[in-house]
Symmetry: C2
Subunit: 195 residues, 2 copies
DNA sequence: AGTATAGTAGACAGATCTGTCTACTATCAG
DNA sequence: CTGATAGTAGACAGATCTGTCTACTATACT
């Protein structure tokens, strides 16, 4: 049996970690496999022992990004207990994200932009990520609006977050998150009450 | 004198037109020069007689896209006369755009995503386009809100449009434009009056 | 000690990319 | 008819891309 099967998991994780960082800031087409390998200090054969293709690596990067995104966001939100504060934290988290030095937009919006519908798996991962965020918003909104209106408002707020990402990407204006939150607050039916 | 100077303008326009179409749906990195040339039926030498590099072609494509975008939007808006109808037309125009078969997102958001800050000229063109749209929104909002609030609301509405573009791109949901307009309407101070 | 294996290093194939250059053709003014 | 020129066709250089393969090394288990 040759050596291409059952490779070690830590190398794989390091590879995904490096690829995540490079693809996030450099783009998927513009960053080549060789650059990822050089930066990770991993041999090409190891990469292809773990993944059948570059697109498969990108797919795993997106899955990892989704995990980290949601874990980081949830941890940040959980520092608050009041429902309105927890909702505000979502936008504050985005603002911090926009202010990070290497911020280059949302990896899922970007993958949709670069690959369009060409690579179905990547398009699907992007869609699932956005749906997961929206579902998370539903949970945050229910205490504020009740279960009836929450899904509709979650879709609206999701759109606000995507808009803030776009504005921050093009104009470099991290304050877009603040403006999105201001809009969100005004759209809350409960706005009159806790402000 | 060799033949690389003073080339004909119609070839150039055809080249830009073809490149616009291909870059819009296929992405900037993924679509190569050769494909543009083959599709346009133009020789490589002609391309490089008109443009010094692929990035220069992309820049001209973006300028052309900005012109067409604004002309098409303004023509659509001008079919309405009531201020609120004119504002609504902006969102309706986006909805029609999202429903076009080859819709693959905003070329300016996409160029920012693919090139990040790497190519300063392209980043700048993206920023100027978004600023131009926002300025246009100011003019539409002034009759509704007065000159004081219009710029702030224009920035908000611009964010809503970018959000709709992102949602439409990832989820393929053209109705994002409708949701953005619903939010916009609720955010208008004059909402209580004309609804 | 000995063997299997995951890893490294990197050559290589084959495709594709941008950009340059040579050679030929079509058009049009005088 | 002649000559200038904008165009076409496409070879070519040089770089870079993905993906495969050979050869060697380090590690770990028995």
């Amino acid at each position: 049996m040759p050596s291409q099967l059952a490779p070690r998991a830590d190398k794989r994780a390091h590879l995904v970690d490096t690829a995540l960082r490079l693809f996030a800031t450099g783009g998927y087409h513009a960053v080549g496999i060789d650059r990822v390998l050089a930066e990770a200090g991993v041999a090409k054969k190891t990469l292809y022992a773990h993944f059948p293709s570059k697109n498969a690596l990108i797919a795993e990067v997106l899955r990892e990004r989704d995990r980290r995104f949601r874990a980081s966001l949830a941890a940040f939100v959980d520092r608050q207990s009041a429902p309105l504060d927890r909702l505000a934290a979502v936008f504050a988290w985005h603002r911090q994200w926009f202010e990070e030095p290497g911020f280059a937009g949302c990896m899922f919006l970007n993958v949709a932009a670069e690959f369009h519908g060409e690579v179905a798996e990547l398009q699907l991962l992007a869609r699932e990520h956005k749906r997961a965020v929206e579902t998370y918003l539903v949970g945050l909104l229910e205490p504020l609006t009740g279960a009836g209106e929450a899904p509709v408002l979650a879709a609206d707020f999701n759109l606000l977050l995507d808009g803030a990402i776009g504005v921050a990407l093009v104009s470099g204006d991290a304050e877009a998150a603040g403006r999105a939150w201001n809009m969100a607050r005004r759209l809350l039916p409960a706005f009159a009450a806790p402000a």
